[in-house]
């Protein structure tokens, strides 16, 4: 047996050990704010190690995990998402009366699962990572119990998540049946060798389609999106923000790893499927969002729509010349979506109130779009930040969302998916209607909004807004890093 190279998964190991210790330390800490800070410290240490690994490559544990530019990029993004998630939760859980130390431990474990997903080089690890990121999210979604909405969100997410995991496992079993291996690299060579025998390739195609279904569920792609609005609305807002960004990043990382590394031979079968799913996701997400009056549901449908845009980056995954730019555009868009998403949810949290009947979850809780009336006058900075996020989600310059969409559509056109690019532009136009309605409500309507001002929360939306604008003015370094990250993959 070759010696194990632990440095390959060092950020992950550190975070796992840290989370286990935090579980114990939390018992002796009365002030849960300290638990939050310790959790953030763990993420920061792991982030430091990850950044020190830029450029390093390798595999370990018998090719179960891989370290490359892509995994480093995604891991850094996930760790930053975790930090944002803690910053959002810090004041929120106290205010909502759901402060428990396990919140932060579970969040750390979920980040570990997501990072493992980004480093997976074997379908068994993909499956375990999927569970490891999902189970803490199921629990976190139900964290505001006995609030029925939160309980419903947790149960719904759990049942449908378990169902979709079943698809993934069945898909993996069929792929194993066809190729006799679960290693991503092994599947490629087995598929190439078996290209003469058609029956096993059919099994491989069915298996990969089932894996696509399961991962499509995780990233909330149509038609596997039904759970999203209810779960996003019912779960505590800080959890939703983390779930929307983290689960999407990890899901797309897995899609990219599995499909472009293991199934390139199936590109002709899978590309049309992903194209249709991407188009449907953009159309359905954006159109249903128009009818929403609740800001959490609005952002949920917005999140579905953005899954469609990001999926666009994976459509040309079988075309050698185009795929690298396209996937780099996808990574760039993930960064832009994560940043904007955290900013927008920070504003939602600033307006959310704990009042209302906790057992029914109804009452005035500052979650309707109408509650945003008058912010423009009362809290100009908050309104300006929210305007930036809405612009970015729509794709209006000078915001990161615009640059991200520009790269995405350019990649789609380069891959000659003109129809998809047109659908992307048109649905962005549709989305302007509901995003700008929030802006109009903030500035044009009179109202007496009540907001909460907490240092970490203000920092989150302030930082996110500033970065959304600044990075959009000089996007080249970030895009170059994303391009470098995927260079070795293809």
């Amino acid at each position: 047996m070759p010696p194990l190279n632990f440095s390959i998964i060092l950020p992950l190991l550190v975070l796992t050990v840290w989370a286990c210790l935090l579980l114990l330390v939390d018992l002796f800490v009365k002030n849960k704010g300290i638990t939050a800070l310790l959790a953030a410290l763990g993420l920061a240490i792991s982030l430091g190690i990850t950044l020190s690994q830029v450029g390093a490559t390798g595999t370990s544990f018998n090719n179960m995990v891989v370290l490359d530019g892509f995994s480093t990029f995604v891991n850094a993004l996930l760790l930053v998402s975790g930090l944002f998630g803690i910053a959002l939760a810090y004041g929120y859980v106290k205010r909502m009366g759901i402060e428990r130390g396990e919140y932060y431990t579970l969040l750390l474990f979920s980040v570990v699962g997501m990072m493992l997903m980004a480093q997976a080089a074997d379908l068994i690890i993909v499956f375990l990572a999927l569970e490891m990121l999902s189970i803490p999210l199921y629990v976190l979604a139900a964290f505001a119990r006995p609030n029925v909405n939160s309980e419903e969100a947790g149960l719904k997410y759990f049942l449908l998540g378990a169902f979709s995991t079943g698809f993934v496992v069945y898909g993996i079993a069929l792929v194993f049946g066809a190729t006799r291996t679960t290693s991503l690299a092994g599947i490629v060579s087995a598929a190439n060798a078996a290209s003469s025998g058609t029956s096993s390739l059919l099994l491989l195609t069915i298996g990969s389609a089932l894996i696509l279904v399961g991962l499509g569920f995780k990233v909330a792609a149509v038609p596997f999106h039904m759970w999203t609005p209810d779960v996003y609305q019912g779960a505590p807002s800080a959890v939703t923000a983390f779930m929307a960004a983290g689960a999407k990043i990890a899901g797309f990382a897995a899609l990219l790893r599995v499909f472009s590394l293991a199934f390139p031979s199936l590109a002709s079968d899978i590309t049309p499927i992903i194209a249709v799913i991407s188009a449907l996701t953009m159309i359905v997400g954006n159109i249903i969002a128009i009818a929403q009056t609740n800001i959490k549901r609005l952002l949920a449908y917005s999140s579905i729509a953005h899954a469609g845009y990001i999926l666009m980056a994976f459509v040309p995954y079988g075309q050698k010349g185009v795929v690298a730019t396209s996937v780099a555009a996808g990574l760039f868009y993930l960064v832009s979506y994560a940043l904007t998403n955290f900013g927008a949810w920070a504003v939602v949290i600033a307006l959310e109130k704990a009042e209302g009947n906790p057992s029914t979850g109804s009452g005035q809780r500052g979650l309707e779009i109408a509650d945003y009336a008058g912010i423009g006058r009362k809290h100009p900075a908050l309104a300006a930040a929210m305007t930036v996020f809405m612009f970015s989600l729509t794709g209006i310059p000078p915001t990161l969302g615009f640059v991200g969409k520009f790269y995405l559509f350019r990649a789609a056109i380069a891959g000659q998916f003109y129809l998809l690019a047109v659908i992307g532009v048109l649905t962005s136009l549709i989305s302007a209607y509901y995003y700008l309605r929030v802006v109009v409500t903030m500035y044009m309507r009179e109202g007496e909004p009540e907001t909460t001002s907490e240092p970490w929360l203000n920092l989150t939306w302030g930082l996110a807004a500033v970065l959304t604008v600044i990075v959009s003015l000089v996007p080249a370094p970030l895009f170059d890093w994303a391009s470098q990250a995927v260079l070795k993959l293809f």
Binding site: F61, V112, I125
Partner: protein, 172 residues
């Protein structure tokens, strides 16, 4: 008749009888105990097939842990006193149809399929032995094994978080 074959038929009868007893038993506790018996006989089958690792897993995990948990749940919840819930109306016909399909498939495989390769190659003697499983588990599959252990820890923490009673009496 070799001793193995005699043992097989005796155990097969016990296994089938236990399964029927579990299905037809009126008392839930008896049904659970019949299932334990069934699991036990299946474990002996595994030993007859030279798979001691699976046999021991069967006893310790299924017959031991899971069935004890079942019995605990049955006794704690007091299912005896619960009213018998009505079966779904379409359940019985559906089960019948599915059973017919399964029987048809099995019959097809047994009687009509042309056997191309003569015999199934005998697996090596150490296949599935505790040593072999341990070697695979702690060498090639070390990382998945460890990840699974962390996963179980997470699930445990999550279950406790969702069910623990708060001091203020908020929990359920």
């Amino acid at each position: 008749m070799t001793p193995d074959l005699i043992a097989f038929f005796v155990l097969a009868l016990i296994a089938i009888a236990a399964a029927l007893g579990m299905l037809l038993g009126r008392n839930v506790v008896y049904s659970a105990l019949f299932l334990v018996l069934n699991f036990g006989t299946v474990a002996v089958f595994y030993i007859l097939l030279d798979a001691p690792f699976i046999a021991l897993t069967q006893v310790s995990v299924y017959a031991g842990a899971i069935m004890v948990l079942f019995l605990f749940v049955i006794m704690l919840l007091g299912t005896e006193t619960l009213p018998v819930s009505k079966a779904l109306p379409w359940q019985r016909p559906l089960a019948f149809v599915l059973a017919l399909i399964l029987a048809g498939e099995a019959g097809y495989l047994l009687f009509f399929r042309k056997v191309t390769s003569g015999t199934i190659p005998q697996p090596v003697q150490t296949f599935g032995s505790p040593q072999a499983v341990g070697q695979a588990l702690f060498n090639q599959y070390l990382l998945p094994f460890e990840v699974t252990s962390v996963l179980l820890l997470i699930a445990m923490v999550g279950a406790i978080v969702l069910t623990i009673k708060e001091k203020g009496g908020q929990g359920k």
